[in-house]
Symmetry: C2
Subunit: 153 residues, 2 copies
DNA sequence: ATCGATGCAAAGCGTTTGCAGGGGT
DNA sequence: ACCCCTGCAAACGCTTTGCATCGAT
């Protein structure tokens, strides 16, 4: 389940290819995110990188995450329950998630990603949508439910 | 694709069964939501019910939607892109969504819902998760992409 | 008479933005 | 020298909350 993690060179290249600079903050935010097993919130990433970069600000973490999302190194998972923060995923390979409706915590599922799942659901769907002006770029599948108390929140 | 819509009696019963009163505001919010073909934001519902209930407040719409979600008459679809409002769905039968990553608009997909999709993906998954302390209550499948400009936003 | 629901205003929270200063190329 | 990025603080948008009043039982 550990996703393919980009090393600094690969990530730097990806950032530069998008006209963005591979700053220490961006690399550190990515490293930290990739090292955390849960999918953390921006705040959690902020607290986790602070020891390495004591002067980093929360706003910079947000901006760094935005840059990483822009180059496709990170996925942003919007909050489901209201008033909850978004979660971030240093995605390597694509995968599915389980989402706890109480805490908002997100876990990876130990199931292989199926690139043809939509096609399998309905072979005509993508074409159908395209002809109606919708461009499909991907899909997201989440299990919803609750996890026992006491664990990671 | 038109979902089974609850009439006032059924909705009133559902609310009362949960210890909630079937107020005019709640019924109107539900009716309005069910009558809208897109999945609107709370603000959009608010503006749409105003003609019928000129004195209703946005806070009451939020509270009404919360009550409707609590009794299972409405689904709340969290914002995907940041800084966007949540959308609400007067769900009848379960279905899948297409989500526009630019505008946040959500459309129903003309595909039948598959209750056994997860089981089909991996028959052992649900049991596996259960044994690890995760209780699965459902799943959500969304196509992601972009819709041409000019339409409903 | 009770008890929940409403409507208003204000607070709350996560996130973004404006801007002066700093650092890499 | 340039331009992007940072960090701070303030603003922002969406949602919730506190509270007095209202309305239905």
């Amino acid at each position: 389940m550990t996703p393919t993690r980009l090393d600094h060179d690969a990530l730097s290249d990806a950032l530069q290819a998008a006209g963005l600079r591979p700053t220490a903050q961006r690399l550190a935010v990515y490293d930290q995110l990739a090292a955390m097993d849960q999918h953390p919130t921006a705040e959690q990433v902020f607290r986790a990188v602070r020891p390495r970069l004591p002067r980093i600000s929360l706003a910079t973490v947000y901006k760094a995450l935005e840059a990483l999302v822009a180059v496709g190194a990170v996925d942003r998972l919007g909050a489901e329950s209201a008033a909850g923060p978004a979660r971030y995923d240093a995605r390597g390979d694509r995968h599915y998630h389980f989402r706890c409706l109480r805490t908002g915590a997100i876990h990876d599922l130990p199931v292989q990603y199926d690139p043809k799942l939509i096609e399998r659901l309905d072979p005509a769907l993508a074409d159908d949508l395209r002809s109606r002006g919708f461009q499909v770029t991907g899909y997201r599948l989440e299990l919803l439910g609750y996890q026992d108390d006491g664990r990671d929140a």
